[in-house]
Amino acid sequence: MSTDRFRDLSNTALAGRLGVPRVPLLRRYEPGQPLLPGPALVTSVGAGRFAKPIAALVEESGQQVLDAVGDQKLAAVVVDLTAATTLDDLAAARAILTPAVRKLAPSGRLLLLGPEPAEASAGAGVEAAATAQALDGLVRTIAKELRAGATANLLVVAAQAPPAAVDSAVRFFLSARSAYVDGQVVRIGVPVGSPQDPAAMDSPTLPEKPLSGRVAVVTGAARGIGAAIADTLARDGATLVVVDIPAAGENLAKVANRTGGTALQLDITAVDAPERLIAHLTQRHGRLDLLVHNAGITRDKLLANMDPDRWKAVLDVNLRAQLRITEALLGEGTLLQDGSRIVCVSSQSGIGGNRGQANYVASKAGIIGMVRALAPVVAEKGVTINAVAPGFIETEMTAKMPLGTREAGRRVNSLRQGGLPVDVAETIGWLGQADSGGVNGQVVRVCGQSMLGA
């Protein structure tokens, strides 16, 4: 993996004197780490339903909760704006946020909760809808203004969602697990499936092992982001089935052995790939709690020079295989159960487009279409499906880019650096939890608030 020398240099005393902008070192999760490294301000505007339970959640984690800004540095600021309906409410939010952002510590977390604009308009009229939408722009701006690795994100919560529906998202966005997720808006609805993890029926889920007892499949797991996903899910307690093409088997075996999982050498584009995956899962586990469609390839060419083989190869691996495998598993009917989760790896290129990647972009945008179309269908079985869209992630793939392109890719985001494979993995781990059922049909970008496709 390429190392970010500029980031390291920017943190030297000399660079400071020369006025070189500092590239922050992001706080990242390690097992045993507390939810927050310092106190959190948790407050609301109006009668929000979430501030109290969130304050309790933070206190339960052992951290102090403040209800007003004082002298102390803040590790997190949470403002429940779900009851905000007027421009006066918005002004009240400003009054809280202005002093609060000044006190936000390095790698601090700003998390807003707001209402669904469409719902707000139906209930309280047009001003409420305008207020709700204003939060969207507000959080994206705060994310751009924050420094030192601090992030800002917004949870848009459906009126019908019970308070506990946001817990797993709140934990994720406050913790260091969300280091590279910045300026994002995630919708939370009435949770799909039972929040009680069926995989953990016999043993209560430990906070540091949120995936314990869960069986997870990760495709493309021999290296790069897929290997990091496997490591991260295993760290959080999941039992792994790692999949990659037979030619990548040497590395795949290493990943399987270090995660205590099983290696399944399988080309996901093979005609019988869904059947073989199902046979393996049926024989070895009898269930599937988390399916991660990560395998992906690029075959770049300008559209003007694009041949059918390049087009087909990319669409087959990145999209057709995901469609076929997902369809087969849903058809099979027993492996995916109430509480199972599907997460697909898309890309920011799939949102913003990218020169020379017509085939890749089509496949990654197609994934988003698939996720949105399947979300209501799988919800009936208590299953969710979401996508993560990584931005610039430091992998073997990006290390091979020409220096100029690589530097540009790294810096055009609010955190001024590339993300790490583990950042994508942490996001998938969160979406893979049984109690993340409130998030369905969403695309979560892991891009440090990249300007590309934003």
Binding site: P246, A247, G249, K254, A256, N257, T262, A263, Q265, H285
Partner: protein
């Protein structure tokens, strides 16, 4: 312990692609290859941290540092270090004999699970000092003073410094295996065309097996090699016909054995995973096949009339008799292709009326086999033959084949016969049956 022996289950296997000697694995040792192969097996079946009943493997070409090879491989692997291991060595029969040993312990209820197979490198083969040099070095080692040592060193002569490179030859006859096989081929009148045809089919079958993904759960790539590099998918009888004979050249125009219809020196390792049905079920592992029975035979190729590689000719009728089966009761035949001529001579011997009567003591010959059932996913001519690794390769392959087929004629369980010839005039054979 159960009163009637149970049958050991074959659960699966793992091997690394076989590489032609002095090629891709030139720098890999037996220990490297065996450990990696074991780790690949652990990964495939999710056995990290597991204590198995035992791991049994061996190598034919062994360095003295490999004295506890299999145990060292276990210690270097992801298996629990509390897994016992030991080495066996029966030339090319090593891998299959190891599987029989493990299966027998499972059958007796002494262990619940085990891994069997072997490894060989012809690249990193031990190079010994010659006997003269050895004597001087031993004396130097025993010398007490520096002067004594210098005196001994001064006695060294150039001829003593030439290393002893291992030869693939029989100690008692001085003939290489190929030369022995050539004599047998001539005796049975095995034609050049038939040998080339068998070789071409072996390559074709193995290539097709790779294409259909049959090896996806049998092989794990190693050192960047993803398929056996001896495999020539485009091999043909025409191409093979252009090669010059290398063995039996004393027979002049009757010399039939070429580099194309003989196995090359190869590096590699292969292992099979065995267990009791109960152990497999408890670990949610599939039972592909059961090892029904096995037999080992030996022939007097030094003074007697038998060829070096013909012991399976004797082993199989004994095994059939004990199992109450005929040679035709099988859906698959895995006859190790040490040389194409060895396979063909073996088949001819089983068909021969005189031989049955005079040498096998049978009223009638075993008869012929349906050749379309022979080595259906290729064998050693295509894959290569790292001596001790071949048994593990065949056990896992055949277990998968009978499992895929499920049932044979009349709804009985699919059945396969393994036959492996070995140096020293030995042969190891076994029957697998679909679970």
């Amino acid at each position: 312990m159960p009163s009637t022996p149970r049958r050991a289950a074959v659960i699966g296997g793992n091997r690394i692609p076989f590489a032609r000697a002095n090629g891709r694995y030139a720098r890999a040792s037996n220990l490297d290859m065996l450990t990696t192969t074991l780790d690949g097996l652990v990964a495939r079946y999710g056995l990290a941290g597991e204590r198995l009943g035992e791991v049994v493997a061996g190598a034919v070409l062994k360095h003295s540092r490999d004295f506890n090879l299999t145990r060292e491989a276990v210690l270097g692997s992801r298996l629990a270090p509390s897994t016992p291991a030991y080495d066996v060595q029966q030339a090319c029969g090593t891998g299959l004999e190891a599987a029989i040993l493990v299966a027998n312990k499972i059958a007796l209820g002494q262990i619940e699970s085990g891994v069997a197979g072997g490894v060989d490198t012809a690249s990193d083969a031990p190079i010994a000092v010659n006997e003269d040099l050895r004597k001087v070095l031993v004396a130097i080692n025993g010398a007490r003073t520096v002067q004594q040592r210098v005196k001994l060193l001064a006695k060294l002569r150039p001829g003593q410094i030439v290393p002893d490179i291992p030869r693939n030859s029989e100690p008692r006859t001085g003939l290489s295996m190929g030369e022995h096989a050539a004599i047998t081929a001539k005796e049975w009148g095995v034609s050049r065309e038939a040998q080339d045809e068998l070789a071409a089919v072996s390559h074709r079958n193995l290539a097709a097996a790779y294409e259909r993904g049959f090896l996806d759960d049998l092989v794990t790539p190693y050192l960047g090699l993803t398929r056996d590099d001896n495999l020539r998918p485009d091999s043909s009888v025409e191409k093979l016909a252009t090669l010059r004979p290398v063995f039996g050249t004393q027979f002049g125009d009757d010399a039939t054995m070429t580099a194309g219809n003989s196995t090359p020196l190869t590096d590699g390792a292969a292992l099979a995973l065995l267990g009791s049905d109960e152990w497999a079920a408890a670990h949610k592992l599939p039972v592909l096949a059961h090892l029904v029975d096995a037999e080992t035979a030996a022939v007097d190729y030094v003074h007697g009339r038998d060829g070096l590689l013909t012991a399976p000719v004797y082993a199989v009728p004994r095994l059939l008799e004990r199992s109450g089966l005929t040679l035709q009761d099988f859906d698959f035949y895995e006859i190790h292709e040490a040389f194409a001529s060895t396979v063909l001579a073996t088949l001819k011997a089983w068909e021969d009326v005189e031989f049955a009567k005079d040498r096998l003591g049978l009223d009638a010959p075993l008869g012929s086999i349906d050749r379309s059932r022979l080595n259906v996913t290729g064998s050693s001519l295509a894959a290569g033959h790292p001596f001790a690794a071949t048994g593990g390769r065949i056990v896992a392959t055949l277990a998968k084949l009978v499992h895929e087929k499920g049932t044979g004629e009349g709804g009985r369980k699919a059945r396969g016969l393994i036959s492996i010839c070995a140096a020293g005039g030995q042969g190891v054979v076994a029957i697998l049956e679909a679970a």
